[in-house]
Symmetry: C2
Subunit: 343 residues, 2 copies
DNA sequence: TTGAAAGCGATACCAC
DNA sequence: GTGGTATCGCTTTCAA
């Protein structure tokens, strides 16, 4: 059932039917109702392909996933973001286009999205310092919103980010308040923007109390279990090991846990651990005791907000860049309570 | 730059240019080369929207993600599958459409995909026993491939699956060979097809040796950390606890590990653990010793194969249903070596 | 081997 | 208010 057929059935012109369906004001209310009813009755759905061609809009938002950073898509955080954004797209009649491409084809993927007209805008993930994609988007001329920020980028752009610095600062302060003097930081790779901000938060908390940073307690590596394990093990082997850890992700957190276990220590007893980007619970006596619920829901909200921002830019195009900084939830239960000092 | 402009520049008709670009045989080779060169020089990309309308094809494959099973998208397995499928789509000029919809709108999402013409086919994820989506796809009349199988579905359909039964059978046999007599099964929810098959594999291995199954050692629950923790804890509290675990997923594996740790036991020493769908390594003395690399790469391959199958169905349409059963890799290192018997 | 022209199914401008 | 018609950019007969 297409527009023409429906129009014929109603004894109206396609023009009028189209207008009635799209809420144009000049249509007679009685006519509109007849049209609406008929459309529903015949289960009419306008052909998206035709709308796209006629309007010149793609009605789709692109997300490019370079394959080498495939762990990004695996990252629960990424999935939460996608879920939030996806909801918004569906609600607004937009499609979500996922382009999985080999690393070296990333730039081409963005260019194609634009030149073949398959997306009206894109969302950039996991920005780095001085990310080349931002000038690229400007050059290509495609509306975009960044999930995160790209330090050292001069041009203005729209972004939605979680306050990583603040989250790590608060977590560090929490541990310092518990009496920990040596806190190990198990961070992600510090060319990723968010990792830089997290380290800054950790450093700020120390600075505010006049505490020196010990480089031996600050690691930066992939957010994988093996990296987390190695970093934590190395720190625990120090003559003056940390009594607490602040870990950047659920995955590296698994490695940290294993390192602690490997040393015959117990989490929440010998060593306190705060894991960012985790919504898991620390379990004690079979009860759930949350230690750190950081950004799961914030990230989903970030996805929603980024999508709304992008759709607004696209439809009422030409807006000034907008920015949104979200605070991560911080829920800490008693199981992180003061760890026995080991010195 | 569109087809018409390019044709004008070349002094040819759009028809000829189109034919040259699309590899039609009747085009003069010299002409074709001129056209190709010009297209490249002017960076011509055909407008997908127009192609879609003209050909009546969507050039896109849909994946519907109901929101209530959002953990599915978070599941690394799902991500691997998507990565594999996505590669195939890109290579063949297809787009991947991800529809994130509220649970109750799932059926509508599939219907819209068809009636609005935004996908030429779909891939179904996480089939259940007697999955209603399979008759739905037939009713809607949209080509589809299932990732997994739906027990008790009479109608034929195309699927790609990993041999879950066999993987669990082999893992169980491996543990039995090590001398374990009591092996705890921490399985997913057994209305999911794959979970049923996994339990069957576990049971088959026991049956082959004339061993009785102990229901107290077989749990079935969500594949979450808390569920894994509870299941493993309950089993370890038995008068005759298991000396080994076979765990369905990386996530529930985290709970199992924690349960073991909580009892003051050590993985790989007091208790052997095999975790399915995990590509992590068990770490001992700082070295990586793989315990069980099950399906990560197989799942990615499954994504590739499912996508290829679907594209084949769509283009040379009307094929008989095809099926592919992939064997999971099974890599076991020495750290799972015989656990000291605890009885 | 090439080209003219009719779709594909909507939108949107211009008359009436 | 409603309808005729050009248009979006390509594919695909049908002729030449």
């Amino acid at each position: 059932m297409n527009l023409k057929e429906l129009a014929t059935k109603l004894g109206l012109s396609p023009t009028t039917v189209s207008r009635a369906l799209n809420g144009y004001p000049e249509v007679n209310e009685a006519t509109r109702e007849r049209v609406m009813a008929a459309a529903k009755r015949h289960n009419y759905r306008p052909n998206t392909r035709a709308i796209r061609l006629a309007t010149g809009r793609a009605l789709a938002i692109g997300h490019v996933i370079p394959l080498a950073t495939r762990h990004e898509i695996m990252n629960p955080i990424f999935a939460d973001f996608i879920a939030g954004a996806g909801e918004t797209y569906s609600r607004n009649g937009y499609d979500m286009l996922l382009s999985v491409v080999p690393d070296e084809d990333e730039e081409k993927a963005y260019r194609d999205l634009k030149s073949r007209g398959s997306a009206d805008g894109v969302i950039l993930h996991a920005p780095r310092m001085n990310d080349p994609r931002i000038p690229l988007m400007h050059e290509i001329g495609i509306p975009f919103v960044v999930h995160g920020r790209a330090t050292a980028t001069a041009e203005p752009y729209s972004w939605v980010d979680v306050n990583n610095r603040r989250a790590f600062q608060r977590a560090t302060e929490f541990l310092l308040d518990l009496g920990h003097a040596r806190i190990g930081l198990v961070n992600g790779l510090e060319f990723m923007d968010f990792a830089i901000r997290r380290r800054t938060g950790y450093a700020d908390a120390h600075a505010a109390r006049g505490l020196q940073l010990d480089p031996a307690l600050m690691s930066s590596d992939e957010m994988t279990e093996i990296a987390g394990f190695r970093a934590a093990t190395a720190m625990l082997d120090l003559p003056d090991p940390p009594t607490a850890f602040l870990v950047a992700s659920m995955i590296s957190g698994m490695g940290v846990r294993r390192a602690i276990e490997g040393k015959g220590l117990t989490m929440g007893k010998d060593v306190s651990v705060i894991i960012h980007d985790d919504d898991l619970s620390y379990l004690r006596n079979g009860e759930d005791v949350p230690i750190f619920t950081a950004t799961r829901s914030s990230v989903r909200e970030a996805g929603r907000i980024a999508a709304e921002m992008l759709l607004a830019i696209i439809t009422q195009h030409g807006e000034e860049p907008q920015n949104r900084l979200l605070e991560a939830e911080l829920i800490i239960g008693q199981s992180t309570g003061p760890a026995p000092r080991r010195t």
